[in-house]
């Protein structure tokens, strides 16, 4: 997108800017003067530049990529900042200062290394315009006037005034270039405003901090090392500012953000404060909230805040519009909100007005075409959506996250040792620094305090997690997918799939049996049980990838379907299928009607085994039939490990013959 700035009819020197001046003297031998001004929005757009506005021919010679390291991300500017923020009528708009370096430009348009003092330029008059009595005050005996290479900088004490010649100086953003470009796009792009700001918008003033790199403005650099050309300093400032301007980390955002549907839903799963226990929520004291990590497989954590956010996000599966002005995408988004968060399949609403109605009435014009971007769930509708989450998801989700046996054991131990409400929980809620101080204080009174109160329980919980899939984020996500299918998609009422209690009993049985250990072995087979599904055959390490999560989910599905089928068949006095026949049963397309996606689940797992690593060194000499036989043999043994033991003597069922016949309407793949 090319935006031509409006430069017609401008004087060489721009109009004066007024503000305050100061100097950074935090490094010995270096004084870095700056000037802070409030710049009217139109002037900021017209007079301040981003790196990419420096003539393109400079690119190769001056390595702008190296200098500024970051290119403008047009998509971020248009979608996130302009459509998602500036054009959103309901948002408060605010951002902090943009940092600008004044850079000398040669007659050929190229950026110079230093302000050239060899050519003398007539300093502009003070006042800048004879009709401006206020500006006359700067023509004062106590004023420090610096005129250098097209820049005029005057200071009287803290007050200061700045002008520059736009032919000789470029005012380039080293921090805030995306915001600056977004303001320009907001005003100039024909798709949005097409050249004008509204009168009320024109009143906006943007804080701008100018860095002045000339001795006469107070710049000093006594260090001889490094690249202290204007470009070199700009590069350093740009890198430092962008590197240090860290966004709020995800965990804090989840705790603090009241406008995000995900954050609000996650918070309904947790106690409101540390040191608080509840039977119906995850105790925040046992949740990893202190950092951005999603892992909870070590130390004392029952879960992590970032992982809970990922779980909620995957479970809600909201289809955020890529383009908030695209009606079809927005309608899809609204549909996904209603489908996930509508109670009793009614739409999310606010004061009787449905979300879809609100969109068509407030975000679209009379012809039904969108005139305002719709990028997120409007705040008014958050309450209704969160209530929907509490009805549709929270009960079964909490059941899985609190009542699955390994989690139940962890909670039981924590309660028995008063870890949530007692000293342990209170200690873990401190900042790192405070933990250090408390530890020293307590050890001074009782040398064993830290070991006894903190380290011992921490180690005890860590040992409960040792090598258990239950505490691996990737497994929990797959487990929750199974719960969602049973209790959300089929409302816990499908007679084959049962409800969340059936899922929980099934998982507990697997856990008791040791099947959910990462290092579980498959008796009489060379590789461990989870190899080719979720762990690497070479080093037994867990592979973290979407494909692995899909395979874990598929295996859980197959085990669950198999267990349910055996139990239902036994209860109905029907014959029980052998493991191989069960595999064939779930492979059959026709059986999908009763067992959702069973064919896909089978195929995905089959593909996991169908690798050279599985077939071994002689893989190229094996026939396809032999390979198929090897896969089915292992596949069937794995399936058997997750199935319930049926007591033959107590019922009147019988096993089906071991003949490997096809069941149902099946197609060979």
């Amino acid at each position: 997108m090319l935006i031509i700035p409006k430069t017609e009819g401008k004087a060489r020197f721009n109009k004066p800017l007024y503000g305050m001046t100061g100097t950074y003297t935090l490094s010995e031998g270096i004084a870095l003067p700056y000037f802070l001004s409030l710049v009217e929005i139109n002037r900021a757009i017209d007079e301040l530049k981003i790196a990419e506005q420096i003539p393109a021919s400079l690119d190769t010679q001056w390595s702008l990529k190296e200098l500024f390291q970051r290119e403008i991300d047009d998509k971020r500017v248009e979608d996130d900042i302009v459509k998602g923020y500036l054009l959103d009528p309901k948002k408060l708009k605010f951002f902090n200062a943009i940092t600008i370096v004044l850079m000398p430009k040669g007659a050929d348009g190229k950026i110079q290394d230093t302000f050239d003092s060899s050519t003398s330029i007539e300093p502009p008059p003070i006042p800048w315009d004879g009709t401006d009595p206020d500006d006359t005050q700067w023509n004062h005996a106590e004023a420090n006037v610096a005129n250098f290479s097209g820049v005029q900088f005057i200071s009287i004490g803290l007050s200061a005034r700045l002008r520059w010649d736009e032919d000789r100086v470029l005012a380039v953003a080293v921090d805030g270039q995306h915001r600056l470009w977004a303001l320009r796009t907001f005003r100039e792009d024909q798709n949005f405003r097409g050249g004008t700001l509204r009168t009320v918008e024109e009143r906006t003033k943007v804080p701008v901090l100018f860095v002045l790199l000339h001795p006469s403005a107070g710049f000093q650099n006594a260090l001889g090392e490094g690249d202290y050309s204007i470009r070199g300093i700009s590069r350093e400032l740009f890198t430092d500012l962008n590197k240090n301007a860290k966004t709020v980390d995800k965990a804090r955002e989840l705790i603090l953000d009241d406008k995000s549907i995900n954050a609000q839903c996650v918070r309904t799963l947790l106690t409101e404060r540390t040191g608080e226990d509840s039977k119906e929520r995850l105790p925040l004291s046992l949740v990893r909230w202190q950092d951005d990590s999603n892992r909870f497989d070590s130390s004392y954590y029952l879960n992590s805040l970032v992982h809970l956010d990922l779980l909620v996000s995957a479970t809600l599966d909201l289809k955020l519009p890529r383009d908030p002005m695209d009606k079809k995408q927005v309608n899809e988004f609204i549909k996904s909100i209603n489908s996930a968060l509508g109670i009793n399949e009614q739409e999310v609403e606010y004061q009787g007005r449905l979300l879809s109605q609100y969109y068509s009435e407030d975000y679209c014009d009379e012809d039904g075409e969108p005139d305002t971007p719709f990028a997120r769930l409007p705040e008014n509708y958050l309450d209704s959506a969160v209530k929907g989450f509490q009805v549709n998801f929270r009960p079964w989700l909490l059941k899985l996250l609190l009542e699955f046996k390994p989690y139940r054991n962890l909670l039981k131990y924590s309660r028995e040792h008063n870890l949530i409400e007692g000293t342990f929980g209170k200690f873990q809620a401190q900042t790192n620094k405070h933990r250090g101080i408390i530890k020293e204080q307590e050890i001074a009174k009782d040398s064993d305090w830290h070991n006894r109160e903190i380290l011992a329980p921490q180690a005890a919980i860590a040992s409960m997690k040792d090598n258990q899939w239950a505490f691996k984020a990737i497994f929990q996500k797959a487990m929750v997918r199974l719960g969602k299918m049973v209790d959300f998609e089929y409302k816990g009422k499908d007679k084959n799939l049962g409800n969340i209690d059936d899922v929980l009993n099934f998982l507990d049985r697997l856990y008791d049996k040791g099947v959910l250990r990462v290092d579980a072995i498959l008796t009489d087979y060379p590789f461990r049980l989870w190899t080719f599904i979720a762990i690497n055959p070479g080093n037994d390490k867990i592979k973290v990838a979407k494909a692995v999560e899909d395979r874990i989910f598929s295996l859980l599905c197959l085990w669950y379907y198999g267990s349910r089928k055996i139990e239902l068949d036994a209860a109905n006095g029907e014959r029980i299928l052998s493991n191989r026949k069960l595999l064939n049963f779930f492979k059959a397309e026709a059986n999908k009607a009763q067992w959702p996606s069973c064919t896909e689940v089978y195929t995905l797992l089959y593909k996991g085994f169908n690798t050279n690593a599985f077939y071994g060194r002689d893989h190229d000499q094996l026939s396809e039939d032999r390979k198929k036989g090897m896969v089915l043999e292992r596949f069937s043994a794995i399936l058997a490990d997750g199935l319930p033991q049926i007591d033959i003597s107590s019922s009147n069922y019988s096993f089906a013959d071991e003949v490997d016949e096809e069941l149902g309407l099946e197609q060979e793949s």
Binding site: E489, Y490, A590
Partner: protein
């Protein structure tokens, strides 16, 4: 509650006949994950009556719910040329003159119970909303469920939600996936609603079956009966 046809998300009525209750599933993928791929067959959409849960105890709510159902369009509107110089347009309209009787009988719990039971089991009395035949049922149902699909919109205009209907599938054949594309299904879908002559082709027999079924059973939201 007496169930004449059962009340589950999916019922296998016979080896190749399945009845899906979409109201017992959430999301299109919940249904699609239960429809075999590459299976051809005949399908029919049926209306599902959902009276407000409080209606069983409250005569007022009961009456309002029944009147609400009665007022919904029972078929699609139709328009045709009447050569040489006219065009005719037909709009569905239901008149119900027994509102007074309904209000009086609604006071009787056993009457409410009876009507509830009959409407819950209404599949056996009903004219289908739509009948189709497809060489790939999965792909065809997927296109029906798509946002803004022709059938979804037509039903919506009449006050019916396709995601709350019942769907009957009768499998007739397995086909190789390469023989059928989504595009062909879409085209098929449109064909069924346009008045174009079909040439004899692989799809011609499907069109004919569809036409015969439409003629015989007059599905109320099919525009062309063949």
């Amino acid at each position: 509650m007496i169930w004449l046809q059962g009340n589950e998300a999916v019922q296998q009525l016979s080896e190749n006949v399945l009845l899906y209750d979409l109201a017992q599933m959430r999301g299109n993928s919940a249904l699609l994950s239960r429809i075999p791929e590459n299976v051809g067959g005949v399908y029919a959409w049926y209306r599902r009556f959902e009276l407000k849960p409080t209606a069983i105890h409250d005569p007022e709510v009961f009456t309002a719910s029944i009147l609400d159902e009665l007022s919904k369009d029972h078929c699609a509107s139709r328009e045709a040329r009447l050569p040489p110089s006219h065009r005719i347009s037909l709009q569905p309209e239901t008149s119900f003159t027994k509102e007074g009787d309904l209000r009086a009988f609604a006071a009787d719990p056993s009457f409410r119970q009876l009507l509830f039971m009959l409407l819950d089991n209404s599949l056996i009395f009903q004219q289908p909303l739509y009948i189709g035949k497809a060489s790939n049922l999965h792909s065809r149902i997927c296109s029906h469920l798509r946002e803004e699909s022709i059938l979804r919109e037509r039903l919506k205009a009449a006050g019916h939600n396709i995601n709350r209907c019942r769907l009957l599938l009768i499998h007739t054949s397995f086909t190789m996936p390469t023989f059928v594309s989504d595009g062909a299904d879409e085209e098929d879908d449109v064909d069924n609603q346009a008045s174009e002559d079909c040439e004899l082709s692989d799809l011609a027999s499907e069109g004919l079956v569809e036409d015969i079924l439409s003629r015989l059973f007059l599905p109320s939201f099919t525009l062309r009966y063949g």
